[in-house]
């Protein structure tokens, strides 16, 4: 060919299922040339192979992402963000559970406890893990999804799904920890008390703690997500200004769930009698705060810029 390589209508032979044509194409670049091309397959041969594979069963290639013209589904995007998060968070939790078992065993043999080891050493800081997980929705999964043709809007939807799943699984994990600890403490006749003096007594308390952590984790995840979006949209400097408002949801959760979690050192320090003691109210308020953050996050996600070079102005 001596002219420019213009596409020619009707030449989509692969899509028509016919083998790759043109012996010239097949021999291109070979023919005794001194280059390594002698070991190459004929030109476009593997394109033809793929086409034959695709058309042999008459069903077309595997297209789990949807048809050629349709964008990836929310389910697929959510699988990426949720499984991708659960991989590292799950590994962390597994390690944590193992360490907790070892420490609990050592303490059971060598000493005694009068308050929850699970709360003070293991479950309390999981809120930070949730914050980090929320942040990675933009910093880690943003480039992966947007770089593969997923819109920011869909990324936002997937992040919301991940938030819900992770909070539920996290709440379950915390509840399981309290259950295991309760069994051991009960066998050793130790009191299983939280930092604020609340006693964990029976399955109902454990369920309450699990749900409280669902609310707490949702808020921390939402906050981390907002911070990630702010950084993705504004760059590494300006986003700092938006950190304080982004932290409102976890602050709300800490406040309204303080009677159940006693997670912050505020209890006993300031007058919090006005805070409703009902864990259901605390959970609802927390979820409402997370919902507001999520509503803000969806349109804000549209401003995310992928970290290629510097941030645009």
């Amino acid at each position: 060919m001596t002219g420019s390589h213009q596409p020619r209508p009707g030449e989509g032979r692969l899509s028509a299922g016919s083998p790759r044509p043109g012996p010239n194409d097949r021999q291109g670049g070979e023919g005794g040339q001194p280059h390594a091309s002698a070991s190459l397959p004929p030109a476009g041969q593997i394109t033809a192979t793929a086409a034959r594979t695709r058309t042999a069963d008459g069903k077309g290639a595997v297209r789990r992402a949807g048809g050629p013209g349709s964008p990836p589904s929310l389910v697929n995007a959510s699988i990426v963000t949720t499984v991708g998060t659960l991989i590292w968070v799950g590994l962390l939790w597994l390690a944590l559970a193992a360490i907790f078992g070892i420490v609990l065993g050592i303490v059971a043999v060598a000493g005694s406890l009068d308050s929850s080891l699970w709360q003070s050493g293991f479950s309390g800081w999981q809120r930070i893990v949730m914050f980090a997980a929320g942040y990675t929705m933009t910093s880690a999964f943003g480039p992966i999804l947007i770089g593969n043709g997923v819109t920011r809007s869909r990324l936002a939807g997937a992040a919301t799904v991940t938030m819900v799943v992770l909070a539920l699984v996290g709440g379950l994990f915390v509840a399981l920890g309290y259950t295991l600890e309760g069994l051991v403490f009960s066998a050793l006749d130790w009191p299983q008390e939280l930092r604020g003096g609340q006693r964990v007594d029976g399955i109902s308390d454990i369920v309450r703690l699990g749900f409280a952590h669902v609310g707490l984790f949702t808020c921390y995840f939402a906050a981390g997500r907002l911070v990630g979006i702010a950084r993705g949209a504004l760059g590494p400097d300006e986003f700092v200004l938006l950190i304080p408002p982004a932290l409102i949801p976890p602050a709300v959760a800490e406040l309204f769930l303080i009677h159940d979690l006693a997670g912050l050192p505020l209890i006993g320090q300031v007058n919090l009698d006005w805070v409703p003691s009902s864990w259901a109210v605390g959970l609802l308020v927390s979820l409402a705060a997370a919902a507001v953050a999520t509503v803000i996050a969806h349109p804000a996600s549209r401003a995310i810029t992928l970290p290629i070079g510097r941030q645009p102005g």
């Binding site: 060919m1 390589h5 670049g29 005794g32 595997v62 043709g149 070079g309 645009p312």
Partner: protein
């Protein structure tokens, strides 16, 4: 059929980037199904241009249209656009294996052709169980071009990964790309065009097969329909490759003879893209072509007249030092 690309007055400014924009008032059009070679030195704005086309970022000013629409947050266009770079273009964790990378893409890319990807894996001898961080530069490049090809995206952009391929793989990539663009009319943007080594290899192959139909398979310049050249964020040239191939003329001969001929043939102020001296010899690349009678006149004066290969012509456009004569070569 691939997507048509229309860029009009595109300007991108960076935070903290001073007054100089990364791209300034760039305009060009790429017809659907064309292959575009995008050239420019580091910092010319090539990656920024591609990032804007791939909806990674918004323009600061101007417009970008893909298939007549704004690609930003456009699910139809974004899902059919693929940009891969030297890092693999995926931003996956480095501990991810190649197999996992493909599984991930299969979830997200609607046009992903698994059978084709498998075939490319064999062609480029990609170790599926290897982690991305274990890959040498050429293997990482092979991963990137495999993703770009097998994505079957209607707008596919290669931000130089193909330049890191081994020569054998470059040739294979060239052939696959050629088959893809011809049979599927995908619109492709290749930063840096075809690698220099592959160009030379393919030119050799083409030369030995000239005159026959095999030319179609081996001529490197044929792959590029359109050439876009950026320098310091500004558009230097955007033209059909065939036009650029006719634009430049190289005159080589004794310095005095070349100087005299230049003045007579091109006037007092010829547009000189390159001016090199080697002893008494002088080689000048000028914009413009010579009519047959002037070419014969030059030959009679002992001056070799020849066309400028596209790659060389583009490199002259990119590098303004040569224009200023700073790159003159002297015998030592």
């Amino acid at each position: 059929m691939g997507f048509r690309v229309d860029v009009a007055g595109l300007t991108v400014r960076y935070r903290g980037g001073g007054n100089a924009p990364a791209l300034a008032d760039v305009s060009f059009t790429l017809e659907a199904g064309q292959v575009c070679g995008l050239f420019g030195r580091e910092g010319a704005g090539k990656s920024t241009l591609l990032a804007t086309l791939a909806a990674y970022r918004r323009p600061s000013a101007g417009t970008v249209r893909v298939a007549g629409e704004d690609p930003y947050e456009n699910p139809r266009l974004m899902s059919q656009t693929c940009l891969v770079d030297r890092a693999g273009g995926l931003a996956v964790d480095e501990s991810t294996t190649i197999r996992e990378v493909f599984e991930l893409i299969e979830l997200l890319r609607p046009g992903w052709d698994k059978a084709y990807a498998d075939a490319l894996v064999e062609l480029f001898e990609l170790p599926l169980r290897a982690k991305v961080r274990e890959l040498a530069r050429s293997r990482r490049a092979a991963l990137a071009v495999t993703i770009g090809l097998a994505s079957r995206a209607r707008l596919t952009m290669f931000d130089e990964p193909h330049l890191d391929l081994d020569l054998t793989d470059q040739l294979a990539f060239y052939r696959e790309l050629r088959a893809e663009t011809r049979d599927r009319q995908r619109t492709v943007i290749l930063v840096g065009g075809i690698g220099a080594a592959a160009t030379a290899a393919l030119a050799d192959a083409s030369g030995s097969q000239r005159g026959g139909p095999a030319d179609e398979a081996a001529s490197p310049d044929d792959l590029l329909d359109q050439i876009v050249v950026l320098r310091r964020g500004r558009l230097v040239a955007a033209a059909p490759a065939a036009n650029l191939r006719r634009v430049g003329t190289e005159l080589t001969g004794l310095a005095d003879a070349v100087t005299a001929f230049l003045a007579s043939a091109f006037g007092d102020a010829p547009t000189v893209l390159a001016d090199r001296r080697l002893g008494r010899l002088r080689s000048v690349v000028v914009v413009g072509s010579l009519p047959a009678d002037r070419a014969a006149e030059a030959t009679a004066a002992g001056i070799d007249v020849g066309p400028v290969p596209t790659r060389d012509f583009v490199s002259y456009l990119i590098d303004d030092r040569q224009r200023a004569g700073e790159a003159r070569e002297h015998s030592s």
